[in-house]
Symmetry: none
Subunit: 237 residues, 2 copies
């Protein structure tokens, strides 16, 4: 259920941060941990998250301030505070800046999990009118991201989850370079040698699937990434 849900945790207590990350990763979340407001905001701008978990007391920018900046970037993303500051005024301020929840330390991991799930559950119900296209014409092929389907000449093939994700990234950047690191980061939320190789495997599989139209090809850019070449770039809704 929480598969692939991306969480941003901003927590300056290294020990607690790691505990939290480990716990949430064991619950199949994809977690990014930052130690201060600055890097939290940077990460937020670069990547995209389903929920942010913010400490209030942070070096430099405090959590409330960070929350405001995140809101400036994204009007929808839910966030909650997880903090030792249990004073009523802090709580009220937390809700005032738009938090979905305000949890005080010490907290129970499982309760936190429940609260996260409540937030994501409600979020999921609001089908976000995706502003990015989800349907692409690739030469004689047609790729529908929502249906997870690649068609050619009336013949359609169902893609696996990851194949679908990789092809989508390629399509969004068609005829431009899709950087390895960027792609791996978006798909897995983290980066290591094996994930990079796994990504290569998907590239290989997609090439095989797309072989029927010679005008479509995935070219490697040594040490940088890949380009999906498409002759008549067009895309549906």
């Amino acid at each position: 259920m929480s598969e692939n849900q991306r969480l941003l945790i901003v927590e300056d207590d290294i020990h607690l941060g790691f505990l939290l990350m480990e716990f949430l990763e064991s619950e199949k979340f994809n977690v990014k941990l930052c130690r201060d407001g600055q890097s939290g905001l940077m990460s937020f701008k670069k990547e995209s998250f389903d929920l942010c978990i913010l400490d209030v007391m942070l070096p430099q920018t405090d959590g409330f301030c960070l929350a405001r900046q995140i809101r400036k970037e994204d009007k929808e993303v839910p966030f909650l505070f997880l903090t030792a500051r249990s004073m009523k005024e802090d709580k009220l301020q937390g809700f005032a800046v738009g938090a979905e929840d305000y949890i005080t330390k010490p907290f129970d991991e499982e309760e936190l999990l429940c609260r996260i799930q409540v937030i994501l559950r409600r979020q999921a119900q609001q089908q976000i009118p995706e502003e990015k296209p989800t349907s692409f014409d690739l030469g004689r092929y047609h790729f529908d991201y929502n249906k997870q389907e690649l068609c050619i000449e009336g013949h359609s093939r169902r893609l696996t989850e990851k194949e679908n994700e990789v092809l989508r990234l390629l399509c969004l950047k068609q005829n431009q370079i899709l950087k390895r690191d960027e792609a791996v980061e978006k798909i897995y939320g983290r980066h290591d040698y094996f994930l990079g190789r796994s990504f290569d495997v998907f590239i290989s599989r997609l090439r095989k699937m797309l072989r029927q139209d010679k005008s479509i090809r995935i070219e490697n850019v040594f040490k940088v990434g890949f380009i999906l070449h498409v002759q008549n770039p067009q895309q549906g809704h």
Copy 2:
């Protein structure tokens, strides 16, 4: 903002109940107060509310049980627990039956107000209930959701409640992916491992019922959901 929002409070402590009601009415909510699970459920069935605030320890039916009954009546309405029982197990059970929040006494009125507003805010964002079709042609079959009936060649079969719900969701998304999580959420109003498996059992039963027309089939999309394939998509009112 809270203008005209209707709250159902089920609280057996008369004193606390009145305090709560007065406070929330002063915040422009429209409040109905009940003293026990029985009358709470009665009120819920008769009237309609935007949010329910439930005590856990109630005479006769306890709060968890009441919540389950409310869920049976309405899969959408949000509810929260407001209770002296602060044990972890109780909290987890509260969330497990589908609560949006679990607040332990003593609590701060203003914090409660914030939490109520968070829930109603999420709720408000939700889609306008549009008219959805209730009658579907599925190849040689005909499915009528209101009659809870699946017919083929003059022969009709009555569906159970859940079979009916699952088939409806599939039909509404025919030839598109019906996501597991979304479906389970809509059918049960909450989500856990077993509900997912129960959903699978209904898929299996529907497959069996639909076997007489080969052009109709329910395909699994690994880890994502199911697609009801229909050849000539048509649907009645």
